[in-house]
């Protein structure tokens, strides 16, 4: 069954397709050298700005490639590199744009908060280590085979373990890093275990190849296929912090420097979603007839995971008093929402799962980064990140408080914000697929979440703080807050253009399903 694997050399054209990733890698190497060679008296913030420039350059390259691929308003064919182990397609590119934009905002946030954070001693690493993590995330979104995917995942994970522990003088940070290494290791182990089963029954690591071989393999090894898929789902379940695999998230987010928590909540989570989306859709959609039952079971498992995340996350957050832990649990609830389009499968009347997912992810990106940015500004002023330190913000920083209201409304799924439409599209999709039980759970969890999201509002507007001093927001943090607030409102007022654009560029056939 095993085919001989041909050696495929990397050509110059391939290099051009990989330009965004290569640019980031080049900037990364350059910055390591620069950090070594630069005299001590030059501030390491320069490295932060250069990191930002590198990300912007890479973003430009991705956009240019996408424009080039989708000329004339038709979704272009996917470009397969290195024997289909790396794919440049609209699915990947759309998500890469999000990852790059998200990391750019995170870098800016880090620039704003690091200046007087004594706990972070390795300032240069703080910025340039974001780059390999980002490359890993981009690889996960683009991978066409399990090995590439795993390498991307490890690149992302290993660098983020270091980033989490960068606050060397804080014991919480060390604890968080340790916890993240352990759970991350378990997650990787589960993934590898599941992947090895898939490889074992199909004889290939190529996603398209797995899809081709799976129907035949299922007749003999149905139980093994279940084991393989369930372990993969559990592995990613840890990475996206879906209940019951979410317990690490509050601890890690709390201990990590706030910009790094943001990175984990948005980019690392998004990358895991991208990989999960691709594996599930490439392999399961082609199952027909008696095998369709297997696919339905796996999809059901995803939906159960989604429901558990929504309910467990919302319940756990009710009694939370720490702002960062609260946002971590809010991330768990949102993971639940984003798993819904992945787990709904396709039907004749409903197949826009991807656009639902992406719209919510975009909204999630802006509202989460924005909320973390506000937390970072507040905890910088008060020295801790308890919910209590938001008290009296109406007097201490009225405009920042107003921006926080926007994020809170969006997270709670209330109009007029991106979070509202994101949730509405997911709800409509679930109702379209006749998954009414899921509609009820989504809506129920959002009502529960009103209570704790409005906890921010209660503190900011209804309680008075211990000191009346104005909160000084660093310029960079301010930019992040207002970009995110503007984007959140814009997504809530004009949901049309983005959805139309996704519809034009994305095609299930050419971008996700790898058969034929």
């Amino acid at each position: 069954m095993l085919k001989e694997v041909p050696f495929v050399p990397l050509t110059w054209t391939d290099m051009l397709y990989l330009a965004p990733e290569f640019l980031l890698a080049a900037v990364f190497v350059l910055l390591i050298l620069l950090d070594l060679l630069m005299p001590r008296r030059i501030t390491r913030l320069t490295i932060g700005w250069l990191t930002l420039a590198g990300i912007a350059g890479s973003l430009l390259l991705v956009v240019l490639r996408m424009v080039d691929m989708n000329q004339g308003g038709v979704s272009g064919e996917a470009i397969q590199l290195l024997g289909n182990s790396y794919r440049v397609d609209d699915f990947g590119s759309l998500l890469k744009i999000m990852f790059l934009a998200g990391t750019a905002l995170v870098t800016l946030l880090a620039l704003g908060s690091v200046r007087d954070d004594e706990a972070i001693t390795a300032r240069a690493e703080y910025f340039y280590l974001l780059l390999p993590a980002l490359i890993g995330a981009m690889m996960m979104a683009s991978s066409g085979n399990l090995v590439t995917l795993y390498i991307g995942l490890e690149l992302l994970s290993l660098t983020s373990y270091i980033l989490v522990g960068l606050k060397r003088k804080s014991s919480l940070s060390a604890e968080a890093a340790f916890k993240y290494v352990v759970t991350g290791g378990i997650s990787s182990a589960m993934l590898l275990f599941g992947m090895s089963y898939l490889y074992g029954i199909t004889g290939t690591v190529d996603l398209g190849g797995i899809a081709e071989a799976l129907p035949a393999a299922l007749t003999d090894f149905k139980a093994l296929a279940y084991v393989g898929f369930f372990f993969i789902i559990a592995g990613f379940g840890i990475k996206v912090a879906a209940a019951p695999f979410h317990a690490w998230a509050p601890d890690v987010y709390q201990g990590a420097p706030t910009p790094i928590s943001t990175f984990l909540a948005v980019i690392a989570k998004g990358a895991a979603f991208a990989a999960l989306f691709r594996i599930i859709y490439s392999t399961l959609l082609t199952l027909r007839d008696e095998h369709a039952i297997v696919a339905d079971d796996i999809w059901l498992a995803l939906l159960v995971l989604a429901a558990a995340a929504m309910l467990a996350g919302a319940m756990a957050a009710l009694r939370q008093k720490n702002a960062k832990r609260l946002l971590a649990l809010s991330g768990v609830v949102n993971t639940g929402y984003m798993l819904v389009p992945i787990g709904l499968s396709l039907s004749v009347v409903h197949s826009s799962n991807f656009s639902e997912f992406v719209y919510y992810f975009i909204a999630y990106l802006f509202m989460t980064i924005g909320a973390f940015a506000v937390v970072s500004a507040v905890s910088r002023a008060s020295g801790n990140d308890e919910l209590r330190s938001f008290a009296g913000m109406y007097y201490r920083a009225p405009w920042t408080a107003a921006a926080m209201v926007v994020f809170v409304l969006s997270l709670a799924g209330l109009p007029v914000t991106g979070g509202f439409f994101g949730k509405l599209f997911i709800l409509l999709g679930a109702a379209n697929a006749k998954a009414y039980w899921l509609v009820v759970i989504i809506v129920a969890s959002s009502v529960i979440s009103y209570y704790f999201y409005f906890g921010f509002v209660r503190q900011m507007f209804m309680r008075s703080g211990s000191d009346e001093e104005r909160i000084r927001v660093p310029v960079e943090t301010g930019i992040v807050i207002w970009v995110c607030a503007a984007a959140t409102i814009a997504l809530g007022l004009f949901p049309g253009p983005i959805m139309e654009w996704i519809d034009v560029v994305f095609s299930l056939q050419s971008d996700l399903m790898m058969l034929g």
């Binding site: 004749v348 409509l428 409005f454 299930l508």
Partner: protein, 544 residues
């Protein structure tokens, strides 16, 4: 007239308070007098416009000329799984506004009460700017609820009132404001969540439509009310076709069970807002904790949104279920009426007397709706408008009394007629209007509702009549204690109403008397809306 038709008058009404918000944002923090003037002007604009609309509407006998429809967003849906690929497959969000005989009186009520409440904001003592902005946003939300003709637009505006109220209660309320705000948020959050479930299912079934222009076939989901209304009523629409008639499966079919489920969901969703008996606890807190201007709007307008939603979405979309459910609905009405009245009798806190009285009066609205005939519906709408005016006036008076005496406890108040003759007179008249004295507006609403109910369910209307007597008892007990009764010494020096307080009292009182003496001012307009509704109800009766 033709020139005026081109003006999107409904949008002007809806967004004119926004002007006030823009001006407020530009004003410096310490100019509280300018801010107050801005708010009053910002609420007067929609008031004038809606008066003009009301008068024009009567002449034209048909509100559809005012309807506005704009596409807000077209969300394309993936169509790769479809066998016969349509040229378009999308979900459309419409910005659709309209008025008819049912919503127009409520729209006018909104602008009147909001304008009068804006005069009562002088009692706000802190953070004026934010208060006024939320107040105007609240007005936009309420106006929008009565104007919106798209399910999602309705939902969005409904939620805006929720958010605005949360801030208004939680920041500017009395001592227990935070708890009141939280309870408000959770109860109403559950209500609107249930509404959202119902709406999402409705759009996915009855909201589906196929348009064919030449060989351009487009499939679309739409939350447009008229679209859903017609689809549900049309036995040939996809939503009503059995799978056999469609070939194999019909993903858009709404089964009988689903219709019932949706009807019950809508009943609960709007029942919380109304509030119907077991769901009423949140509104007691709001009534006691919210500042005067807000409780005027809450009691006068927000409760009406529940009744309006029930009528517009529950009864009009599912007339068959509504008809079958008429007796339980009337029973709920009687329970509300008696429960509210009995508890009002036992309260020592005047605000709670009024809160329970609101529950009781909303029971009458339910009775009118449950009558399922022309007179009953007339009565229900009339009662909504009347109760809006009366309760706004009562809470305005309560606010004035509290400002002077610092209490609203019946045991401590007494003999105010001597020191505050004007306020006491207004309170007495409002109390009489509330208990249904002929010649004032409350009487007509109660009379028509019960008359309608008497035609269809005789015995329940007898039980309801008991409630009316109780109303007179508790209302007179409270009002007489405050106005007459023993006067405390420190109350002798109280000042009577200032001009700025007297104006809204006089205006509201004038409307109450006007409606009481000339009910046809209102009923003629309502009639136009009800004719259509009755056609619908009769058609289902004939059909099955």
């Amino acid at each position: 007239m033709s020139i005026l038709n081109d003006i999107p008058i409904l949008s002007f009404i809806l967004f004119s308070p926004l002007l006030g918000i823009v001006v407020l944002l530009a004003l410096p923090h310490n100019r509280s007098n300018w801010m107050k003037k801005t708010v009053v002007v910002a609420t007067l604009i929609p008031l004038v416009l809606s008066f003009w609309l009301y008068s024009e509407y009567d002449k034209q006998q048909d509100g559809s000329v005012f309807d506005e429809q704009q596409s807000w967003a077209d969300i394309p849906l993936n169509k790769e799984t479809q066998a016969a690929v349509p040229s378009e497959f999308k979900f459309t969000l419409q910005y659709e506004l309209g008025v008819d005989g049912l919503s127009l009186p409520l729209l006018l009520l909104t602008t009147i009460v909001a304008a009068m409440a804006s005069l009562a904001v002088i009692q706000v003592k802190k953070r004026w700017k934010a208060f006024f902005i939320w107040f105007l946003l609240l007005e936009i939300g309420i106006l929008g609820v009565f104007l919106a003709r798209d399910l999602f637009l309705f939902f969005i505006l409904f939620e805006i009132t929720l958010i605005a109220m949360y801030f208004l209660i939680g920041i500017w309320g009395y001592f227990n404001r935070e708890r009141a705000a939280n309870q408000f948020l959770i109860y109403n959050g559950i209500g609107s969540a249930i509404m959202l479930i119902a709406f999402v299912i409705l759009v996915n079934t009855a909201g589906f439509r196929m348009d064919q222009i030449g060989d351009q076939v487009s499939f679309l989901y739409s939350g447009s009310y008229s679209n859903i209304f017609h689809n549900l009523a049309d036995s040939g629409a996809w939503v009503n076709l059995a799978p056999e008639q469609m070939g194999t499966v019909n993903p858009f079919l709404m089964t009988h069970t689903m219709q019932w489920t949706l009807f019950i969901l809508l009943l609960v969703a709007f029942g919380i807002k109304l509030p119907i008996f077991p769901f009423h606890t949140w509104m007691l807190k709001v009534h006691t904790e919210a500042p005067t201007a807000i409780v005027m709007v809450h009691s006068g307008l927000l409760l009406k949104m529940g009744a309006y939603g029930l009528l517009r979405f529950g009864l009009l979309l599912f007339p068959e279920q509504a008809r079958a459910f008429a007796i339980p609905l009337a029973a709920l009405g009687v329970i509300n009426l008696l429960y509210g009245a009995l508890l009002a009798l036992r309260q020592q806190e005047f605000k709670l007397v009024l809160a329970y009285s609101s529950i009781s009066h909303m029971g009458i609205v339910l009775l009118g709706l449950a009558a399922m005939n022309e007179i009953g519906l007339q009565g229900a709408v009339f009662q909504l408008v009347s109760h809006g005016l009366v309760s706004a006036l009562l809470f305005l008076v309560v606010g004035s009394i509290y400002e002077r005496t610092g209490t609203t406890d019946l045991r401590e108040l007494g003999g105010l007629a001597r020191s505050m003759p004007f306020v006491s007179g207004v309170l007495l008249t409002a109390g009489l209007a509330s208990l249904g004295l002929p010649g004032l507006s409350g009487f007509i609403g109660e009379f028509l509702s019960l008359l309608g109910l008497f035609e269809s369910q005789r015995w329940l209307s007898v039980a309801a009549a008991v409630g009316i007597i109780l109303t007179a008892v508790y209302m007179l007990r409270a009002v007489l204690k405050i106005t007459f009764g023993l006067q405390r010494e420190d109350y002798t020096a109280l000042k009577d109403a200032r001009l700025i307080e007297a104006i809204p009292m006089i205006v509201l009182l004038a409307f109450i008397v006007l409606l009481g003496c000339f009910p046809s001012v209102l009923t003629d307009t309502t009639q136009l809306g009800i004719d259509g509704l009755l056609d619908q109800l009769l058609a289902t009766r004939a059909g099955g």
